[in-house]
């Protein structure tokens, strides 16, 4: 039987090797719906996450 990690249909085919539904809008902290918590203006430039 089909599993949810498979997507292959006209809606999602172009991203087919991604393999699963990923609700992109959830990638930010949806529980707060406030993705830019720290004020930006006049504050130090945020550091990127650790680099390689």
């Amino acid at each position: 039987m089909k599993r949810r990690s498979i997507q292959n249909d006209p809606i999602s085919t172009p991203e087919r090797d991604r393999g699963a539904v990923i609700v992109q809008n959830f990638a930010l902290d949806i529980t707060k719906a406030a993705p830019v918590a720290p004020a930006l203006k006049g504050q130090p430039k945020p550091k990127p996450e650790s680099k390689k």
Partner: protein, 640 residues
């Protein structure tokens, strides 16, 4: 633990067991959900998160894909009740003998006694079958990308899908090496095929559900060895659909995407046609204003009957994800522009319940249809409260074959909260508006799309929505590619560009990306960079980099397998040499991070960069809209 952001995966034979994907300490992890007790157990703790998880049909064990940041790895298996991996002397591998690779699909037979796993290793797809936690047996290999769609209930037949318009659109492999019967159903540019899933109740003879695109219609179809491919013209739509078997031997659930909204329909392929019109055709005008079109000759030949169709009441907006519980309840992840994604449980066949009313927020939202000779371009426009014009950012979707929807996007809220108008445009190539809109732009890759963005921009400037001197582009992945292309090809229009994980050098990206995306590029361009070099040159942001004159933010990851880092670094070197103001931000997490902190930092960097490029004064709304999210699933749709 926060709410699930995918629909649960249910164990078909154990009604009280399911697997979910939830945010756990800001990382996506697999969670075992006991519906009987309500107890949830976090199964995984991977530092990079887990985004693929499954449950065996009898609910005995959870499967999850253990991946590195480049997207390669292997499936692991853990008992639902949580016995520790390794206690049985194994490393938790779900299927032994399967090499590490890219996840190209998992399926089980009806009882879960047999599992199938497809993996991509280098440029080859392999498919294995075996008992869970047992030895996998290689069934077949094929060059390029071939995804596993399903394993038949009796475990005897595999369905795989390649390019919908290619010779390998549908590939059927018996799992018994001694058996004959390897089959292919070929597609072409006039007929595309997608294998969906086997009928779980068709035990004696496998019956495969498919979607067929032909004559600009998307039609539900079935395949059996004895009867071949059969379409159902009464289940034919003018824009993209997906489908699945739903309760009963011949029930089908259809999700129809049109003009940025989802709807759900139920049909029974086993019932005779209902009297009168049954076609669940479109209800809103499309970009090309196609209206209901007549089925093509093939469809007419197959017009044996049109099953009755019933639409399920939903609150509108977008169904992001959907799964069916053993009791028939549909568990959706749903949102609309003003409402953050939330669980929504629909119970077809019961009385409709009240749907959530409109949310209050400080954002003004509208839809635009920009007329062009080839059709109308659909955009979602969000602005701060009060009069414009505003500095305006086009939030350009990727794909290209996806689309922006009537769905909540926290990036929109964040940007509107900082005083920007935000435009999400479904340019040519987007799904949700029919086959012609998606495919018919003559291999003018990128150029057709930025023409559409420019047309929408002109309209918004003319009507006082957008500040002419402050219109910019912000895109991720293929949207980032369009951003960079437009910054060089239309430098007079855009005074800011922000591109995350973009294609910055198309030929270089083609050489280094994944097999699946190379296949997609060949489809888009009509060939490889060697076969049609002039098309790639015309579509390549680096062909126009010498014309870029406004600030550019580049965001890239050193472990991005789809839009590889070196070609972004090369573009940044060009900007440096040309003394174009720019910034290159390296982030972790590959092409699409599974950690929320990564996304927050990128969005924060973008807001900072935009505010620096377009200094104040910016209009400030009283506050950004921040609607809350309920912790528990919302019952909606139809209830007892």
């Amino acid at each position: 633990m926060t709410q699930a952001f995918q629909s649960p995966g249910f164990a078909a034979l154990a009604a009280d067991r399911a697997v979910e994907t939830r945010l756990v300490e800001e990382r996506w992890q697999a969670v075992a959900w006991d519906l009987g007790t309500g107890r949830r157990r976090v199964v995984t703790d991977r530092p990079g998160g887990v985004h693929l998880s499954e449950i065996e049909p009898d609910g005995e064990a959870i499967w999850w894909f253990d991946t590195d940041s480049a997207g390669e790895g292997r499936w692991r298996r853990e008992p639902f009740t949580g016995a520790a991996n390794g206690s049985d002397g194994t490393d938790g591998s779900a299927l032994l003998g399967v090499p590490p690779g890219r996840p190209y699909g998992v399926a089980f037979d009806r009882t879960g006694a047999l599992a199938a796993v497809a993996v991509g290793v280098d440029d080859t797809s392999h498919c294995y079958v075996g008992p869970p936690a047992g030895e996998g047996r290689l069934i077949g290999s094929a060059p390029g990308y071939l995804g596993l769609a399903d394993l038949s209930p009796d475990g005897r037949l595999l369905a795989l899908g390649g390019r919908p318009d290619g010779d390998d659109a549908v590939v059927l492999w018996p799992t018994d090496a001694r058996a004959d019967g390897r089959l292919r159903l070929a597609g072409d540019r006039r007929r595309r095929l997608w294998p969906i899933e086997f009928n779980p109740l068709a035990i004696s003879e496998p019956e495969l559900l498919l979607v067929v695109e032909e004559d600009e219609r998307y039609t539900v179809a079935t395949w059996r060895a004895g009867t071949g491919l059969r379409g159902y013209p009464g289940l034919s739509f003018d824009s993209q659909i997906t489908a699945g078997w739903y309760r009963g031997p011949r029930g089908v659930l259809i999700q129809h995407e049109r003009a940025g909204r989802s709807r759900l329909l139920l049909a029974d392929l086993g019932l005779p046609a209902a009297p009168g019109p049954t076609a669940p055709g479109p209800t809103a005008p499309g970009p090309t204003e196609p209206g209901p079109t007549e089925p093509g000759p093939t469809a007419r030949r197959q017009a044996e009957h049109a099953p009755p169709v019933r639409e399920i009441s939903t609150p509108g907006g977008t169904i992001h994800d959907l799964s069916c519980a053993p009791d028939g309840a549909l568990h959706c992840v749903w949102s609309r522009e003003s409402t953050p994604p939330r669980p929504l449980v629909l119970r077809p066949g019961t009385q409709p319940a009240d749907h959530p009313g409109p949310d209050r927020d400080d954002t003004s939202r509208s839809r635009r249809w920009t007329p062009r000779p080839y059709g109308r371009i659909h955009s979602f426009v969000s602005t701060p409260a009060g009069p414009g014009p505003w500095p305006t950012l086009f939030l350009v979707h990727g794909g290209p074959a996806t689309h922006d929807r009537d769905s909540y996007d926290p990036r929109v809220n964040a940007l509107v909260g900082r005083g920007f108008a935000v435009v999400r445009t479904n340019y040519r190539g987007s799904t949700g508006y029919g086959a012609r809109w998606q495919h018919d732009y003559g291999h003018r890759v990128g150029l057709a799309q930025i023409e559409d963005l420019a047309a929408v921009r002109a309209e918004l400037v003319a009507d006082g929505t957008a500040l002419a001197r402050r219109t910019g582009l912000c895109g991720f992945s293929w949207g980032g590619y369009l951003t960079l292309l437009a910054m060089g090809a239309q430098p007079e229009l855009w005074s800011l560009g922000m591109a995350a994980q973009p294609i910055a050098d198309y030929p270089a990206a083609y050489r280094a990306t994944t097999p699946a995306l190379r296949a997609l590029d060949r489809q888009l361009f009509g060939g490889t960079p060697e076969e049609v070099p002039e098309r790639y040159r015309a579509a390549d942001p680096r062909s126009y980099v010498h014309r870029v004159r406004s600030p550019v933010l580049l965001v890239a990851s050193r472990t991005d397998e789809r839009c590889p880092p070196d070609q972004v670094a090369g573009y940044a070197a060009d900007l440096r040499r040309l003394a174009v103001p720019h910034e290159l931000l390296w982030v972790d997490g590959g092409h699409y991070s599974r950690r929320t902190a990564d996304h927050r930092s990128v969005l924060a960097a973008m807001v900072r960069f935009a505010e620096r490029a377009w200094p104040a004064p910016l209009p400030r709304p009283p506050q950004g809209d921040r609607p809350g999210v309920p912790a528990e699933p919302m019952e909606g749709g139809e209830q007892p």
